[in-house]
Every structure is written in C-alpha cells, then in structure tokens.
C-alpha cells in the first residue's frame, strides 16, 4: 500500500509495523506528530502497545529502559532539548545493553530558541553508545525503523534514527508501506538476552567495581564493531523481501568523481542535485551520503574514497566549537593512513536551519577544487561575515 505521509509519521508507521510493545514519550516540536499518531494507534488498537505518558524526556527514556529490560520491544521519539534531557539515561540504556529504538528530529539547540534543523543535538550524544542513522527520505525513515529494531536486538545496542527538522520531519512524500506479515517474517518478536523475571530474580546495573567494569565496556565495543556488517546484511535481507536497499553510505556518481561531497541527512539529496549540475558544467563530482554514523563505517568509507588522490568536501550542518565540523573530523580520522594524496576539506553550513542550497554546493565545489591542503580551518558557507 502506498500512502502520502510526513517524515514524522513514517517513524510512527515504522514503530507500528515493527510491533513496538511499549512507547514512552513526551511531545516536543518538531517531533510531536510521531507520538501523536502512535498514541492514536494505541487508542484505536491498530497497535497493541502500552503508551506511557510521562512528565519529561528523562522519564520517557527511564520508562523505555524498564520496559526493555522487562522484555518489551520499546520505542520513543524526541528532539533537541528533549534529547539533551535524556542524556544520562542514553548512557544507561546503552551500557545496560537495552535495544531501545528512538527517532530524533535534528533541531538546533537554544539559545536563541530554534525549532529548525541542525545536527548538534544528536552529535552531542555521539559517545553514549547508541547507534546513529541519518535519513534523507520518508521511505528511508520507515525502512530504517524496522531494520533498526532487528539490528539493535541482535547486538543489544540501542538505535537512534535522525530526521532533519521540517525538511524531512514535515515534508510529505509517497511511502510504500510493507505488508505486516512480511514485516513479521523479517522481524520476529523480541527475545531479550537478559530480562527482569520473577523466575530468575536478578538486580541489574548495580555497583560494579574496577575489578569488573572495564570488561563490560570491552564487550560493548566488540558488539558495536559487529554493527556495520550486520546493518549491511540486514539491508540485503530487507531488499530481498521489499525491493529496497539501504547502504551504510549511499554513493552517487562516485566511480569517476574527482570531487567528492560527503554529506548526511537531507543535505545528501541536495548534494545529488548539485552533482548533476556540476557534471553539466564539466566538473566530475560525486556524493557520499553517510547513513550510519555510529558505529562509523570505516571500511565502507575507505573503499568508496579509495586511494585516488581525490578532493573530498565534507559538508557539516553541525560544529564542535573549538574544533571543526564533526563529520569532517570523523572522515579525516577514518582516512588517516588509508588515502594518501586525498585532500579533505571541511565546510560548515546551514546551522539553525538555514538552507544549504544548490548555489552553496557550487561555492563549496569551487573552493574545494582550488584550496591547498592540508585544511586547518573551517570554511564557512552562507554565513554573513
């Protein structure tokens, strides 16, 4: 069945098709419609789930943690300050190895109050141990949500799915809704690895001395390292059933590109338009849109960039103050020692929801083709200096 829906509702449909059993959430612009629709689905019984109303995002994640540990498939959604308020419990869910799946609508942090998009909210949670997916279409949001449950539950690692505020969250697109029985065959019921049970009573998350803590983090990292291969494999399995393939990094006209944009989220689709426009002007451009940011797809990026001495322009809608754009840092770090002669430049643009337009991409291309490496400074695109 095909349906026109907003990005936020694609998350709700993904959670419904994935048969989430507990949803604990607090509304926040621009996420509100995600949980509005889910609460309606719970009310009209089209989703057999417990909807827990809470007084804050901190409590929302706390409720998700309890429900997940009790063996329920658990979903929530938030944005910006809501995600920041969850911060402590994001650690708790990840270190507790609870496969909660969450949608986060990328919204800029205040002050000044903003409801528009940038990625500093989710990238500030980079080191909490959650998987992070960045989406660029409503179809991708729905498909990613279903796949995220499967990957997270297999690895006991929670997953966070990102949508750009408004440019994705509130944009209406046609979405192919998969049949429930096929989704059920792809995603069987959640089997918790550890769970609260009166048959085998345990206390979870108690005092852990230096004698034992370190090994738990080692195991967590080892499972996280399995994720890129599992995401790729899960994507192939999904493609067989539903005909749509999601890669770790979506490559566009990459093979012969001399100039390669590296993007994420909806900026990645603007980049594809820019690639076509630049090629008409004689510039061999290409685009890599990073979908999976945590764990970082090192091998995939190195394979796609190759050792060809290309020019790589990383476009960040985020900034680590006192350093660079965050994808820029990560891409440089991943390529270190693997792509000699490849020049990597970092461009910061679109903070607080300012458009990153085709013209901006042309400006980036012109700069990247003439700039001398190594890049030590941020190149600002679209700021009034």
């Amino acid at each position: 069945m095909k349906k026109v829906m907003m990005g936020n509702h694609a998350l709700s449909w993904g959670a419904q098709l994935g048969r989430a059993q507990v949803i604990a959430a607090y509304p926040i612009t621009p996420q509100t419609q995600v949980v509005e629709l889910l609460s309606e689905m719970c009310a009209d019984k089209s989703l057999d789930a417990k909807f827990i109303k809470v007084e804050s995002e901190h409590s929302a994640m706390a409720a998700c943690i309890g429900a997940s540990l009790a063996g329920a498939r658990t979903f929530t959604a938030t944005s910006a300050h809501g995600l920041a308020l969850m911060h402590e419990l994001l650690h708790w869910a990840a270190i507790g190895r609870l496969p909660v799946v969450m949608g986060n609508i990328n919204r800029a942090m205040a002050p000044g109050w903003s409801i528009w998009s940038d990625q500093n909210d989710s990238l500030s949670q980079r080191d909490t141990g959650w998987m992070q997916y960045y989406c660029a279409s409503n179809q991708e949001v729905l498909d990613t949500t279903i796949q995220a449950f499967k990957v997270s539950e297999a690895l006991a690692v929670p997953g966070m799915i990102m949508l750009d505020a408004f440019t994705l969250s509130h944009t209406y697109e046609v979405v192919d809704i998969p049949e429930q029985d096929k989704v059920d065959s792809f995603l069987p019921p959640f089997q918790a690895k550890l769970r609260l049970s009166s048959d085998d009573p345990r206390a979870f998350g108690g005092l852990t001395s230096p004698e034992h803590y370190f090994e738990l983090r080692y195991k967590q990292q080892k499972d996280m390292e399995k994720a890129p291969a599992l995401v790729a494999e899960t994507g192939k399995e999904y493609e067989k059933l539903f005909g749509r393939r999601l890669e770790l990094i979506e490559a566009y006209r990459n093979e012969d590109a001399e100039l390669l944009f590296v993007t994420s989220g909806t900026t990645g689709y603007t980049a594809r338009v820019a690639v076509d426009a630049l090629r008409k002007e004689g510039v061999k451009a290409g685009n890599l849109r990073i979908r999976l940011f945590r764990p970082f797809p090192f091998a995939e990026l190195r394979k796609l960039v190759g050792r060809s001495g290309r020019r790589v322009a990383v476009v960040d809608r985020n900034l680590s103050f006192g350093h660079h754009g965050i994808f820029f840092q990560e891409v440089k770090s991943a390529l270190y020692g693997h792509a000699d002669g490849t020049a990597v430049f970092g461009y910061v643009s679109g903070l607080g929801g300012r458009d990153i337009s085709l013209e901006h991409f042309k400006e980036i291309a012109a700069d990247a083709l003439k700039r001398r490496p190594p890049a030590e400074e941020i190149v600002w695109i679209g700021v009034r200096k």
Binding site: R97, L194, A203, G205, H212, Y213, E215, Q220
Partner: protein
C-alpha cells in the same frame, strides 16, 4: 537470629565469563561487604545485659545470637556503630581496624 551462610566471592576470570550487562550473579552469600569496615564493634560480654537491642537495631542484620549473647558477623558488618550507640549498658566499643 542465626548466622548467615557465606560462600566464596565470585570473581570472573575473562570478559567471556561476563554477562553483557552488570547484574547480580548471586545472593549476598557471595557479596562479602564487611571489607568496607574501618572500625569494628567489639562486645564486652561481662557487661552485656542480653537485651537484644543491638541485634534489633543492626541495619545490615550482622548481629546474630549465640548461646543467648549477641555476636557480630564481621563478614557483613560495615562498622556503622549503631549497635554501640544504642547499647544501654555501653558494652560495645568501636575499635579501629588494623589493616
């Protein structure tokens, strides 16, 4: 009133023995919390009036009764001193642990 049974402390050799999440692997029989103690209660049996108040007040159930007299279970006693404070005949002294 009887003494708790204690068993060997659980120590996991390598990460392969670990669960994925920190969780209790056994009961308090394995978890010998008396190692936290800096001062230990010592009962002067001569002056003890066998009232049972120390047994009743011990927050960690670390006093048991043997032959009608209170005995401290040092495997679990953390040395909080509540027994010494509450003892009406002041026959419990808190003595520094020599480590």
């Amino acid at each position: 009133m009887s003494k708790k049974k204690t068993t060997e402390k659980i120590v996991l050799a390598t990460e392969r023995d670990f669960p994925i999440m920190p969780m209790s692997l056994g009961t308090m029989h394995h978890n010998r919390t008396g190692a936290w103690r800096n001062i230990r209660p010592v009962i002067d049996k001569e002056n003890c009036i066998q009232c049972g108040i120390c047994w009743k007040f011990c927050p960690d159930v670390s006093i048991y009764v043997e032959n009608e007299y209170p005995v401290i279970d040092y495997v679990y006693c953390k040395g909080c001193g509540i027994c010494a404070e509450e003892c009406p005949s002041k026959c419990i002294a808190m003595v520094e642990e020599k480590k």
